[in-house]
Protein backbone atom coordinates (compact mmCIF):
# COMPACT_ATOMS: atom_id res chain seq x y z
CA UNK A 1 0.00 0.00 0.00
CA UNK A 2 1.43 3.38 -0.95
CA UNK A 3 0.93 6.70 0.74
CA UNK A 4 -1.35 9.17 -1.02
CA UNK A 5 0.32 11.99 -2.90
CA UNK A 6 1.01 14.80 -0.47
CA UNK A 7 1.71 17.38 -3.09
CA UNK A 8 -0.59 17.99 -6.01
CA UNK A 9 0.38 20.25 -8.83
CA UNK A 10 -2.25 22.96 -9.38
CA UNK A 11 -2.68 24.35 -12.83
CA UNK A 12 -3.08 28.11 -12.96
CA UNK A 13 -5.26 29.08 -15.90
CA UNK A 14 -4.95 32.42 -17.66
CA UNK A 15 -6.98 34.42 -20.12
CA UNK A 16 -6.13 37.71 -21.80
CA UNK A 17 -8.99 40.14 -22.44
CA UNK A 18 -8.04 42.94 -24.82
CA UNK A 19 -10.35 45.94 -24.99
CA UNK A 20 -9.43 49.27 -26.58
CA UNK A 21 -5.99 47.90 -27.38
CA UNK A 22 -5.25 47.29 -23.70
CA UNK A 23 -4.63 43.71 -22.60
CA UNK A 24 -5.69 42.56 -19.15
CA UNK A 25 -4.68 39.04 -18.14
CA UNK A 26 -6.62 37.20 -15.50
CA UNK A 27 -5.44 34.11 -13.62
CA UNK A 28 -7.69 31.61 -11.93
CA UNK A 29 -7.71 28.00 -10.79
CA UNK A 30 -11.21 27.36 -12.09
CA UNK A 31 -11.43 25.97 -15.64
CA UNK A 32 -15.21 26.42 -15.76
CA UNK A 33 -14.84 30.10 -14.91
CA UNK A 34 -12.30 30.53 -17.71
CA UNK A 35 -14.74 28.98 -20.16
CA UNK A 36 -17.43 31.37 -18.92
CA UNK A 37 -15.09 34.32 -19.56
CA UNK A 38 -14.14 33.00 -23.01
CA UNK A 39 -17.84 33.01 -23.92
CA UNK A 40 -18.50 36.38 -22.30
CA UNK A 41 -15.58 38.10 -24.03
CA UNK A 42 -15.68 36.24 -27.37
CA UNK A 43 -13.93 38.42 -29.91
CA UNK A 44 -11.97 40.23 -27.21
CA UNK A 45 -9.79 37.33 -26.06
CA UNK A 46 -6.20 38.28 -26.79
CA UNK A 47 -3.24 36.11 -27.66
CA UNK A 48 -1.60 34.24 -24.78
CA UNK A 49 1.76 35.87 -25.51
CA UNK A 50 0.33 39.40 -25.59
CA UNK A 51 2.08 41.68 -23.09
CA UNK A 52 -0.62 42.61 -20.57
CA UNK A 53 -0.97 46.10 -19.11
CA UNK A 54 -2.43 44.56 -15.95
CA UNK A 55 -2.63 41.07 -14.47
CA UNK A 56 -5.32 40.09 -12.00
CA UNK A 57 -5.44 36.98 -9.82
CA UNK A 58 -9.05 35.99 -9.38
CA UNK A 59 -10.09 34.41 -6.13
CA UNK A 60 -13.49 32.80 -6.46
CA UNK A 61 -15.56 32.96 -3.31
CA UNK A 62 -18.52 30.76 -2.42
CA UNK A 63 -21.88 32.19 -3.43
CA UNK A 64 -23.44 34.32 -0.72
CA UNK A 65 -25.99 37.04 -0.43
CA UNK A 66 -24.49 39.96 -2.31
CA UNK A 67 -25.94 43.06 -3.84
CA UNK A 68 -24.54 43.83 -7.32
CA UNK A 69 -26.63 47.02 -7.31
CA UNK A 70 -24.88 48.40 -4.24
CA UNK A 71 -22.92 51.60 -4.80
CA UNK A 72 -19.49 51.08 -6.22
CA UNK A 73 -16.56 52.54 -4.31
CA UNK A 74 -13.29 53.36 -6.08
CA UNK A 75 -10.53 54.93 -4.03
CA UNK A 76 -6.80 55.25 -4.07
CA UNK A 77 -4.84 54.39 -0.92
CA UNK A 78 -1.15 55.08 -1.30
CA UNK A 79 -0.03 53.29 -4.44
CA UNK A 80 -3.02 50.98 -4.82
CA UNK A 81 -6.58 51.31 -6.02
CA UNK A 82 -9.34 49.64 -4.06
CA UNK A 83 -12.50 48.79 -5.99
CA UNK A 84 -15.51 47.55 -4.12
CA UNK A 85 -19.15 46.75 -4.68
CA UNK A 86 -21.58 44.41 -2.96
CA UNK A 87 -20.50 41.52 -5.20
CA UNK A 88 -16.73 42.04 -5.45
CA UNK A 89 -13.60 43.53 -3.95
CA UNK A 90 -10.50 44.18 -6.00
CA UNK A 91 -7.14 45.82 -5.50
CA UNK A 92 -4.77 47.02 -8.16
CA UNK A 93 -1.24 48.41 -7.99
CA UNK A 94 -0.65 50.35 -11.24
CA UNK A 95 3.12 50.46 -10.80
CA UNK A 96 3.39 46.73 -10.25
CA UNK A 97 0.74 46.22 -12.98
CA UNK A 98 -0.83 43.56 -10.78
CA UNK A 99 -3.93 43.12 -8.70
CA UNK A 100 -6.49 40.68 -7.43
CA UNK A 101 -10.26 40.31 -7.60
CA UNK A 102 -12.37 38.44 -5.08
CA UNK A 103 -15.81 37.54 -6.44
CA UNK A 104 -18.16 34.66 -7.02
CA UNK A 105 -18.11 32.76 -10.32
CA UNK A 106 -20.17 35.19 -12.36
CA UNK A 107 -19.28 37.34 -15.39
CA UNK A 108 -20.81 40.57 -14.06
CA UNK A 109 -18.38 41.35 -11.26
CA UNK A 110 -15.27 41.10 -13.41
CA UNK A 111 -17.07 43.13 -16.08
CA UNK A 112 -17.50 45.96 -13.58
CA UNK A 113 -13.84 45.71 -12.52
CA UNK A 114 -12.71 45.91 -16.15
CA UNK A 115 -14.88 48.97 -16.82
CA UNK A 116 -13.49 50.74 -13.77
CA UNK A 117 -9.88 49.87 -14.53
CA UNK A 118 -10.22 51.05 -18.13
CA UNK A 119 -11.68 54.39 -16.98
CA UNK A 120 -8.74 54.88 -14.60
CA UNK A 121 -6.14 54.06 -17.24
CA UNK A 122 -7.84 56.17 -19.92
CA UNK A 123 -8.18 59.14 -17.56
CA UNK A 124 -4.41 59.60 -17.56
CA UNK A 125 -4.24 59.26 -21.34
CA UNK A 126 -6.89 61.78 -22.41
CA UNK A 127 -9.55 59.18 -23.16
CA UNK A 128 -12.76 58.04 -21.49
CA UNK A 129 -15.69 55.66 -21.46
CA UNK A 130 -19.03 57.18 -22.37
CA UNK A 131 -22.68 56.14 -22.09
CA UNK A 132 -23.03 56.01 -25.85
CA UNK A 133 -23.68 53.60 -28.65
CA UNK A 134 -21.05 53.74 -31.37
CA UNK A 135 -20.65 52.40 -34.86
CA UNK A 136 -18.38 52.58 -37.87
CA UNK A 137 -19.58 53.58 -41.31
CA UNK A 138 -17.33 54.28 -44.29
CA UNK A 139 -14.27 54.00 -42.07
CA UNK A 140 -15.47 56.66 -39.63
CA UNK A 141 -16.80 56.18 -36.11
CA UNK A 142 -20.01 57.85 -34.91
CA UNK A 143 -21.02 58.07 -31.27
CA UNK A 144 -24.62 58.34 -30.04
CA UNK A 145 -24.62 59.54 -26.46
CA UNK A 146 -27.51 59.54 -24.08
CA UNK A 147 -28.76 58.39 -20.75
CA UNK A 148 -30.91 55.32 -20.28
CA UNK A 149 -33.96 55.37 -22.63
CA UNK A 150 -32.37 58.04 -24.85
CA UNK A 151 -32.29 55.61 -27.78
CA UNK A 152 -28.80 54.05 -27.76
CA UNK A 153 -30.10 50.52 -28.21
CA UNK A 154 -32.79 51.64 -30.66
CA UNK A 155 -30.34 53.37 -33.00
CA UNK A 156 -28.04 50.36 -32.78
CA UNK A 157 -30.88 48.01 -33.65
CA UNK A 158 -31.83 50.16 -36.66
CA UNK A 159 -28.28 50.15 -38.10
CA UNK A 160 -28.17 48.97 -41.71
CA UNK A 161 -25.90 46.15 -42.90
CA UNK A 162 -22.99 48.34 -43.92
CA UNK A 163 -22.64 49.63 -40.37
CA UNK A 164 -20.26 47.93 -37.92
CA UNK A 165 -21.57 48.15 -34.39
CA UNK A 166 -18.96 48.95 -31.73
CA UNK A 167 -21.34 48.95 -28.77
CA UNK A 168 -24.95 49.77 -27.93
CA UNK A 169 -24.09 50.93 -24.40
CA UNK A 170 -20.53 51.95 -23.43
CA UNK A 171 -18.27 53.62 -25.96
CA UNK A 172 -14.52 53.47 -25.64
CA UNK A 173 -12.69 56.65 -26.71
CA UNK A 174 -8.93 56.89 -26.81
CA UNK A 175 -6.91 59.97 -27.72
CA UNK A 176 -4.25 59.49 -30.39
CA UNK A 177 -2.30 62.70 -30.77
CA UNK A 178 -4.77 65.28 -32.12
CA UNK A 179 -7.60 62.91 -32.93
CA UNK A 180 -9.85 60.48 -31.14
CA UNK A 181 -10.42 56.82 -31.91
CA UNK A 182 -13.47 54.76 -30.90
CA UNK A 183 -13.02 51.05 -30.14
CA UNK A 184 -15.51 48.25 -30.00
CA UNK A 185 -16.37 46.99 -26.53
CA UNK A 186 -17.93 43.87 -25.05
CA UNK A 187 -19.95 46.13 -22.72
CA UNK A 188 -23.50 45.63 -23.89
CA UNK A 189 -26.86 47.18 -23.17
CA UNK A 190 -30.32 45.86 -23.95
CA UNK A 191 -29.19 44.59 -27.35
CA UNK A 192 -27.03 42.03 -25.50
CA UNK A 193 -24.79 41.81 -28.56
CA UNK A 194 -21.06 42.31 -28.20
CA UNK A 195 -19.51 45.03 -30.32
CA UNK A 196 -16.98 44.23 -33.01
CA UNK A 197 -13.39 44.42 -31.81
CA UNK A 198 -12.35 47.08 -34.33
CA UNK A 199 -11.66 50.82 -34.22
CA UNK A 200 -11.93 53.97 -36.30
CA UNK A 201 -11.36 57.72 -35.92
CA UNK A 202 -14.31 59.52 -34.34
CA UNK A 203 -16.09 61.67 -36.93
CA UNK A 204 -19.03 63.06 -34.92
CA UNK A 205 -20.64 62.65 -31.54
CA UNK A 206 -24.43 62.92 -31.56
CA UNK A 207 -26.44 63.76 -28.46
CA UNK A 208 -29.55 61.61 -28.85
CA UNK A 209 -33.09 62.91 -28.57
CA UNK A 210 -36.29 61.14 -29.57
CA UNK A 211 -38.66 63.27 -31.61
CA UNK A 212 -41.22 63.38 -34.41
CA UNK A 213 -38.73 63.70 -37.27
CA UNK A 214 -35.17 62.80 -38.15
CA UNK A 215 -33.01 65.89 -37.82
CA UNK A 216 -29.47 66.97 -37.02
CA UNK A 217 -28.88 70.30 -35.26
CA UNK A 218 -25.71 72.02 -34.17
CA UNK A 219 -25.19 72.63 -30.46
CA UNK A 220 -23.38 75.41 -28.63
CA UNK A 221 -19.92 74.50 -27.30
CA UNK A 222 -21.11 74.70 -23.70
CA UNK A 223 -24.03 72.39 -24.40
CA UNK A 224 -21.66 70.01 -26.19
CA UNK A 225 -19.35 69.85 -23.17
CA UNK A 226 -22.26 69.42 -20.77
CA UNK A 227 -23.70 66.70 -22.99
CA UNK A 228 -20.46 64.74 -22.99
CA UNK A 229 -19.75 65.32 -19.28
CA UNK A 230 -23.27 64.21 -18.40
CA UNK A 231 -22.70 60.87 -20.10
CA UNK A 232 -19.23 60.13 -18.79
CA UNK A 233 -18.60 56.84 -17.07
CA UNK A 234 -16.30 57.58 -14.16
CA UNK A 235 -16.32 56.09 -10.70
CA UNK A 236 -13.28 57.30 -8.80
CA UNK A 237 -13.51 59.95 -6.10
CA UNK A 238 -10.07 61.25 -6.93
CA UNK A 239 -9.57 64.98 -7.41
CA UNK A 240 -6.59 64.67 -9.75
CA UNK A 241 -8.28 62.17 -12.06
CA UNK A 242 -11.62 64.01 -12.04
CA UNK A 243 -9.78 67.14 -13.17
CA UNK A 244 -7.94 65.14 -15.86
CA UNK A 245 -11.18 63.69 -17.26
CA UNK A 246 -12.91 67.08 -17.13
CA UNK A 247 -10.15 68.66 -19.22
CA UNK A 248 -10.12 65.65 -21.58
CA UNK A 249 -13.78 66.28 -22.39
CA UNK A 250 -13.06 69.91 -23.31
CA UNK A 251 -10.17 68.83 -25.52
CA UNK A 252 -12.53 66.34 -27.17
CA UNK A 253 -15.28 68.89 -27.92
CA UNK A 254 -12.66 71.26 -29.33
CA UNK A 255 -11.66 68.65 -31.91
CA UNK A 256 -14.74 66.53 -32.58
CA UNK A 257 -18.05 67.95 -33.86
CA UNK A 258 -20.87 67.44 -31.36
CA UNK A 259 -24.43 67.65 -32.72
CA UNK A 260 -27.94 66.83 -31.62
CA UNK A 261 -29.61 63.95 -33.43
CA UNK A 262 -33.37 63.93 -33.10
CA UNK A 263 -34.89 60.76 -34.47
CA UNK A 264 -38.01 58.71 -34.87
CA UNK A 265 -37.52 55.00 -34.41
CA UNK A 266 -37.15 53.89 -38.01
CA UNK A 267 -34.20 53.04 -40.19
CA UNK A 268 -34.31 56.27 -42.22
CA UNK A 269 -32.37 58.02 -39.46
CA UNK A 270 -29.28 56.27 -40.80
CA UNK A 271 -29.67 58.18 -44.08
CA UNK A 272 -28.35 61.17 -42.12
CA UNK A 273 -25.30 59.36 -40.73
CA UNK A 274 -21.99 58.87 -42.51
Amino acid sequence: MSLPELITEIELLSLTITIGGMAVRVHTLDAQFVRMLEDRYAGFVGAADEDPEIEFDIELAAPRDTDPNADVSVRCEGSRWILQRGDFRAEWEPEARRGWIRQTANPYSIDAVLRIVHTLVLARQGGFLLHAASAIRNGKAFLFAGVSEAGKTTISRLAPRDVTLLTDEISYVRRKEDRYVAYGTPFTGELAKLGENVSAPVETLYLLAKGKENRIDGVEPGEAARGVLGNLLFFAHDEELVQAVFHSVFEFVKRVPVKRLTFVPDQRVWELIG
Binding site: R226, L229, H237, E239, V242, Q243, H247, F250
Partner: protein, 100 residues
Amino acid sequence: MTKMYLARNPKVAARCLDGEMMIMSGRDSTLFSLNKTATILWQSADGATPLDEIVEKRICAEFDVPRDEALRDAEKLAQELAGHEILQVSEEPIVPGVGR
Protein backbone atom coordinates in the same frame (compact mmCIF):
# COMPACT_ATOMS: atom_id res chain seq x y z
CA MET B 1 -16.74 97.29 7.87
CA THR B 2 -15.07 93.89 7.39
CA LYS B 3 -13.52 93.03 4.07
CA MET B 4 -14.13 89.81 2.19
CA TYR B 5 -11.42 88.13 0.14
CA LEU B 6 -11.98 85.37 -2.38
CA ALA B 7 -9.68 82.68 -3.73
CA ARG B 8 -10.32 79.89 -6.21
CA ASN B 9 -10.39 76.40 -4.77
CA PRO B 10 -7.45 74.68 -6.48
CA LYS B 11 -9.21 71.33 -6.15
CA VAL B 12 -11.85 72.14 -8.76
CA ALA B 13 -11.41 71.95 -12.51
CA ALA B 14 -12.51 74.98 -14.52
CA ARG B 15 -12.81 75.76 -18.22
CA CYS B 16 -14.33 78.71 -20.03
CA LEU B 17 -15.99 77.73 -23.28
CA ASP B 18 -17.50 80.37 -25.52
CA GLY B 19 -17.91 82.70 -22.53
CA GLU B 20 -19.50 80.05 -20.32
CA MET B 21 -17.48 79.13 -17.24
CA MET B 22 -17.89 75.51 -16.23
CA ILE B 23 -16.55 74.08 -13.04
CA MET B 24 -16.38 70.52 -11.81
CA SER B 25 -15.94 69.57 -8.20
CA GLY B 26 -12.98 67.24 -7.81
CA ARG B 27 -14.60 65.80 -4.71
CA ASP B 28 -17.89 64.52 -6.10
CA SER B 29 -17.75 65.37 -9.85
CA THR B 30 -20.68 67.80 -9.62
CA LEU B 31 -20.75 70.13 -12.63
CA PHE B 32 -21.51 73.83 -12.21
CA SER B 33 -22.17 76.39 -14.92
CA LEU B 34 -21.50 79.91 -13.62
CA ASN B 35 -23.62 82.92 -14.54
CA LYS B 36 -21.95 86.19 -15.56
CA THR B 37 -21.61 87.57 -12.03
CA ALA B 38 -20.28 84.31 -10.63
CA THR B 39 -17.82 84.15 -13.54
CA ILE B 40 -16.54 87.63 -12.64
CA LEU B 41 -16.10 86.56 -9.02
CA TRP B 42 -14.25 83.40 -10.11
CA GLN B 43 -11.98 85.28 -12.50
CA SER B 44 -11.23 87.99 -9.93
CA ALA B 45 -10.72 85.65 -6.98
CA ASP B 46 -6.97 86.13 -6.55
CA GLY B 47 -7.00 86.05 -2.75
CA ALA B 48 -5.68 89.61 -2.57
CA THR B 49 -8.36 91.86 -4.07
CA PRO B 50 -11.18 92.61 -1.61
CA LEU B 51 -14.71 91.91 -2.77
CA ASP B 52 -15.81 95.56 -2.58
CA GLU B 53 -13.07 96.45 -5.06
CA ILE B 54 -14.12 93.61 -7.39
CA VAL B 55 -17.71 94.83 -7.22
CA GLU B 56 -16.77 98.42 -7.93
CA LYS B 57 -14.30 97.77 -10.73
CA ARG B 58 -15.84 94.74 -12.43
CA ILE B 59 -19.51 94.27 -11.53
CA CYS B 60 -20.71 97.90 -11.34
CA ALA B 61 -18.69 98.64 -14.47
CA GLU B 62 -20.51 95.92 -16.36
CA PHE B 63 -24.01 96.02 -14.91
CA ASP B 64 -26.13 99.07 -14.20
CA VAL B 65 -26.66 98.39 -10.51
CA PRO B 66 -26.16 100.51 -7.33
CA ARG B 67 -22.88 99.69 -5.55
CA ASP B 68 -24.37 98.73 -2.16
CA GLU B 69 -26.94 96.43 -3.72
CA ALA B 70 -24.29 94.85 -5.95
CA LEU B 71 -22.02 94.26 -2.95
CA ARG B 72 -24.80 92.59 -0.91
CA ASP B 73 -25.65 90.29 -3.85
CA ALA B 74 -21.98 89.54 -4.50
CA GLU B 75 -21.38 88.62 -0.83
CA LYS B 76 -24.34 86.27 -0.91
CA LEU B 77 -23.16 84.72 -4.18
CA ALA B 78 -19.60 84.34 -2.89
CA GLN B 79 -20.86 82.51 0.20
CA GLU B 80 -22.97 80.27 -2.03
CA LEU B 81 -19.94 79.45 -4.19
CA ALA B 82 -17.94 78.78 -1.03
CA GLY B 83 -20.70 76.41 0.11
CA HIS B 84 -20.11 74.41 -3.06
CA GLU B 85 -16.35 74.56 -2.39
CA ILE B 86 -15.78 76.47 -5.62
CA LEU B 87 -14.37 79.53 -3.85
CA GLN B 88 -12.66 80.09 -0.53
CA VAL B 89 -13.76 83.20 1.36
CA SER B 90 -11.97 84.92 4.22
CA GLU B 91 -11.83 88.22 6.09
CA GLU B 92 -8.06 88.19 5.51
CA PRO B 93 -6.14 88.01 2.24
CA ILE B 94 -5.75 84.39 1.17
CA VAL B 95 -2.27 83.14 0.35
CA PRO B 96 -2.30 80.54 -2.45
CA GLY B 97 -1.78 77.02 -1.19
CA VAL B 98 -2.59 77.89 2.42
CA GLY B 99 -5.91 76.60 3.67
CA ARG B 100 -8.14 78.62 5.92
